[in-house]
Amino acid sequence: MAPVSRRSVLKGMGAGFGALAAAGPLFNANKAFAAREKELNILCWEGYNSAQVLDPFRSKTGATVKAESLTNDPTMINRLRAGEINTWDLINVNNPWARKVMLPEKLIKPLPKAEFEPYFDKMLPMFKPPYKWAMSDSGTELIGMAQRFGPYSFVVNTDKISRKTAEDTGWDLFNDPALAGKYGILESDDWNVFNIFIIAGIDPFKVHTPEEFAKFEETAKRVFKGAKLIGDIASMNQALISGEIDLHMTGGTYSVSPARADGHPNLRGITPLKGPLPGGKGGIAWIEITSTVNNPNLSPLALEFLKYVQAPDIAHTVAFAEGTFNPVAQMGSKACFDLFTKDELDAIQWDSLDEEMARSVEYDIVPDYDKALDLMNAAKRLRG
């Protein structure tokens, strides 16, 4: 082996920098001019970034597929606003953002309607075309595809609080002084804003009066003070299983399904029978919409990928990708539904899915979210 001298190291470094300098313009040229036929970048909630979902697509297309998962919608949308519109091809967020925010701000672009609308015919009945959240406000353009969805209110340990009691009592469980110190709060602050409003008996998805904000603040202080812990999904499930807590605010199929699949069917997502939401409803449900980013050099694989995840076997894989397990719109097709085992259906609470969705309003944007979040963050600080 040749001895390593200072000269050889410097020579090596020089060659390295030379290579970088030479390759630099090539990278730029690649970005600016070359068609991105073998490249796809996805900004998504976890699941779509898993190897189970992406690897078959990679081997089918021979493409380099990168997916980054984040756990809240505003962060993803702000990434596009901050200039990453040139980077991403697909964005996967909750239902209202595509129609109400991203399309008006030209962050996403419409899909070829004739090509993609037929897929909605094969989905579960609630997604029959024209499906509201997949369409532009004008109702003329198709702006995204639906897949994962689920009711998302709170989770209880039915050994401690029966499903019936939880559904009947609803959000007042968190107003019950006897349960202080026995519940947790999932660290999902946009949902926590919704739920504090609901616990205060107020519809979150409207402009609020000062009196309503005063009620919100009082409720936030009390509910956060009474919480045993605030944490992520794993912490909530662990605390439920160990008996540290009996229930937790903000949760549903998405959060509790891994614990149910792991042999804890006594843990259950609950959608209250009644509440202050329009129509006297007590729950909120989310539906993910995946849209093509308004990237000036959009990868042709973006549309390919949207078609790829509609296939029954891939839709099933998406439903049971690592992390969380969820129902998918494609379960409307028999070929897809038949792939789900009894245990899998039980993990995603298929038995009560229809009635829970019927009792829920769909996730929406809180017009005065910033103010509510500031009040809630201040309330959190008073826990200590």
């Binding site: 702000n78 910033d370 600080r381």
Partner: protein
């Protein structure tokens, strides 16, 4: 040098040639270092400049460097803003962590230097080894230890006792987590500090009739002080920015300042406010560090009066 000595004209020409070569060598070195220096400079400065720029941007916007406002700082200093609570918790927990670690790490550092002999290296490895495992994983491990029906509670119940204490999700267990996490950062500077104490000096003092406490107070402690203080400073700076302990073990029973910064950058999507908070905390820690270092006369402490 031999070449130079044998050179036919060793006068001014040779001297200037040497100077020229010397100058050229320096410039080659500087040129070689330049790419790395620029890379390091950008890597170090760019994030700081961006954070600093954002701190003066319009709240809840991305108008960095195109807007200037002091609103973010005004928001933070608004008496109705409770962010000072998070700041107090962070400072208080960091100070307690430093104090507890000083007491815990000193005997271990003393042992590593004076008592454990050939076992010292192995014992050091035991303290270093946990650093190879992610901090979050280790903290989740402690959750499993302390949780109801977990390792501690379950074992005590199995032994017929009433079970373990309910310590999880409290500020106390957050402090425990911080002491656990930052132990090596106090221990090793302290061990190096104690290694600076010459054994001869201790032996001489003992021969002259000094008691144990007297030797510790007058010889060991002052001579080991640089290591001890560097350990304290390092631990404090790390602990004031700690967030995982309060989140994972403490169950967010308290909100620490770094968590507030994180919330501003994520759910609040108020990068300017988060940046202003980050700038304030950075300045506070920087000022405190400079103040501490200005009070430390390392030469005097090392005995080079």
């Amino acid at each position: 040098m031999a070449d130079l000595a044998l050179a036919p004209a060793p006068g001014a020409a040779a001297e200037s040639a040497r100077q020229l070569r010397h100058a050229r060598m320096l410039s080659v070195g500087a040129r070689c270092a330049l790419p790395v220096a620029i890379l390091l400079g950008i890597g170090f400065l760019a994030p700081l400049v961006a954070i600093f720029g954002y701190a003066f941007a319009t709240p809840r916007s991305f108008d960095v460097f195109t807007s200037f406002t002091l609103t973010n700082f005004a928001t933070l200093f608004d008496p109705s803003n409770t962010v000072w609570l998070s700041f107090l918790w962070s400072c208080g927990l960091a100070l307690l962590t430093v104090a507890i670690l000083a007491v815990i790490a000193y005997p271990i550092a003393y042992g590593l230097n004076m008592v454990f002999g050939r076992w010292s290296a192995l014992i050091s490895v035991f303290f270093v080894f946990p650093l190879f495992v992610s901090e979050n994983v280790r903290l989740y491990g402690w959750v499993l230890f302390f949780i109801k029906n977990g390792v501690l509670d379950g074992t005590l119940k199995w032994l017929g006792l009433s079970g373990g204490p309910e310590v999880l999700y409290t500020p106390g267990v957050t402090l425990f987590g911080m002491v656990y996490t930052y132990l090596p950062f106090m221990l090793f500077p302290m061990t190096l500090g104690l290694a600076l104490v010459p054994r001869d000096l201790v032996d001489a003092a003992r021969d002259l009739g000094a008691g144990r406490l007297f030797i510790w107070r007058e010889i060991e402690l002052p001579l080991a002080m640089p290591g001890i203080l560097i350990g304290m400073l390092l631990t404090f700076v790390l602990a004031i920015g700690a967030t995982a302990e309060a989140k994972i073990l403490g169950g967010q029973s308290i909100i620490v300042i770094s968590h507030d910064i994180e919330i501003a950058f994520t759910y609040s999507q108020n990068w300017p406010l988060g940046s202003a908070l980050a700038v304030l905390v950075t300045f506070f820690i920087g000022a405190l560090t400079l103040f501490a270092l200005s009070k430390l006369d390392l030469d005097r402490m090392l005995g080079r009066r």
